[in-house]
């Protein structure tokens, strides 16, 4: 599987993803890895139908994403999307190899504190991110393709 962007984005498929990122990186496939969405056939259908022309959207559980990665030898430009830190953390710890991870949008919540205007994380999420950094994964904040990458280590 040729993952050209792995991204945490609370909104999953939305304007920035379909209009900016897929075009700039010539994405052919968006793989949403989310256990609860994978069980929601209505919203999975909506995501698939909302894909821009020439892009396929698939919603998979972490387990199925891992299985797919093992058998998938295509060189299609693929975007991996996670709803939250826990989703990315779980897939990587299950053995999915990525070397870069973009944090796009994570909204505020009762236990989350602001990292930037668009990214909020709880202390638990921050320690997961630190753990992933220690595994050698480069994690950065970049909302739009035209924004500069900011190394997450500078912010947490």
């Amino acid at each position: 599987m040729k993952v050209v962007l792995a991204r945490i984005d609370e909104r999953l498929v939305h304007g920035q993803v379909i209009a900016s990122w897929t075009k700039q990186l010539q994405i052919k496939r968006i793989l949403i890895v989310d256990d609860s969405l994978a069980k929601d056939s209505f919203m999975s259908d909506v995501m698939a139908m909302a894909a821009p022309t020439g892009v396929r959207v698939e919603v998979l559980s972490a387990e199925n994403a891992l299985a797919k990665d093992k058998e998938d030898t295509s060189d299609e430009n693929t975007m991996l999307l996670f709803k939250n830190v826990a989703g990315a953390y779980a897939l990587i710890n299950a053995g999915f190899k990525i070397d870069r991870l973009d944090i796009g949008n994570i909204g505020s919540g009762p236990t989350r504190k602001p990292i930037t205007k668009r990214v909020f994380m709880s202390s638990e999420e921050i320690s997961k991110i630190k753990e992933l950094c220690n595994m050698g994964i480069y994690i950065y904040l970049q909302m739009l393709h035209s924004d500069p990458e900011i190394d997450v280590k500078k912010l947490i």
Binding site: A19, M43, S108
Partner: protein, 138 residues
């Protein structure tokens, strides 16, 4: 029938203002912007409330972009509201010809899907590469 225009930023609000500039005062149409960094939950609740309050009247939601947040949030609310199919429709790709047509026909007591078809035809029918088309006519 009630109409709700939804967009990233103020496109929907200005679409309504622009339509009023052409058509005069318009009733039964509301426009809600999605501001950068806005709380998605709160935005969803407003849409949910509008869907509930419109019933038994039809509610037509028009969003700026297929796959964008206003659309995704509307679909989520549609899915969560029981019997939403009875009175709610969601159309994407808002443009001015579409809205002008809608204003002309929205109070005709038409079937909501027929109304959507007419409105969508007007929307796509208003898009032209005009210089090229004119040259080809010659």
């Amino acid at each position: 029938m009630k109409v709700l225009l939804l967009s990233h930023g103020h496109l929907a609000v200005e679409m309504l203002n622009t339509a009023e500039m052409i058509m005069g005062d318009i009733s039964g149409v509301q426009a809600i912007p999605l501001e950068p960094g806005e709380d998605i939950e709160k935005y969803g609740k407003i849409i949910q409330k509008t869907m509930k309050e419109a019933s038994p009247d039809n509610l037509l939601i028009i969003t700026d972009l297929l796959g964008g947040s206003p659309f995704m949030i509307s679909m989520k609310q549609y899915n969560e509201l029981e019997n939403a199919h009875d009175h709610v429709r969601i159309v994407t790709g808002m443009n001015l010809p579409m809205i002008l047509e809608l204003i002309n026909i929205k109070d005709n007591n038409m079937d909501i899907d027929e109304l959507c078809d007419e409105m969508i035809s007007a929307g796509t029918g208003g898009i032209h590469n005009f210089v090229k088309e004119r040259e080809e006519r010659k």
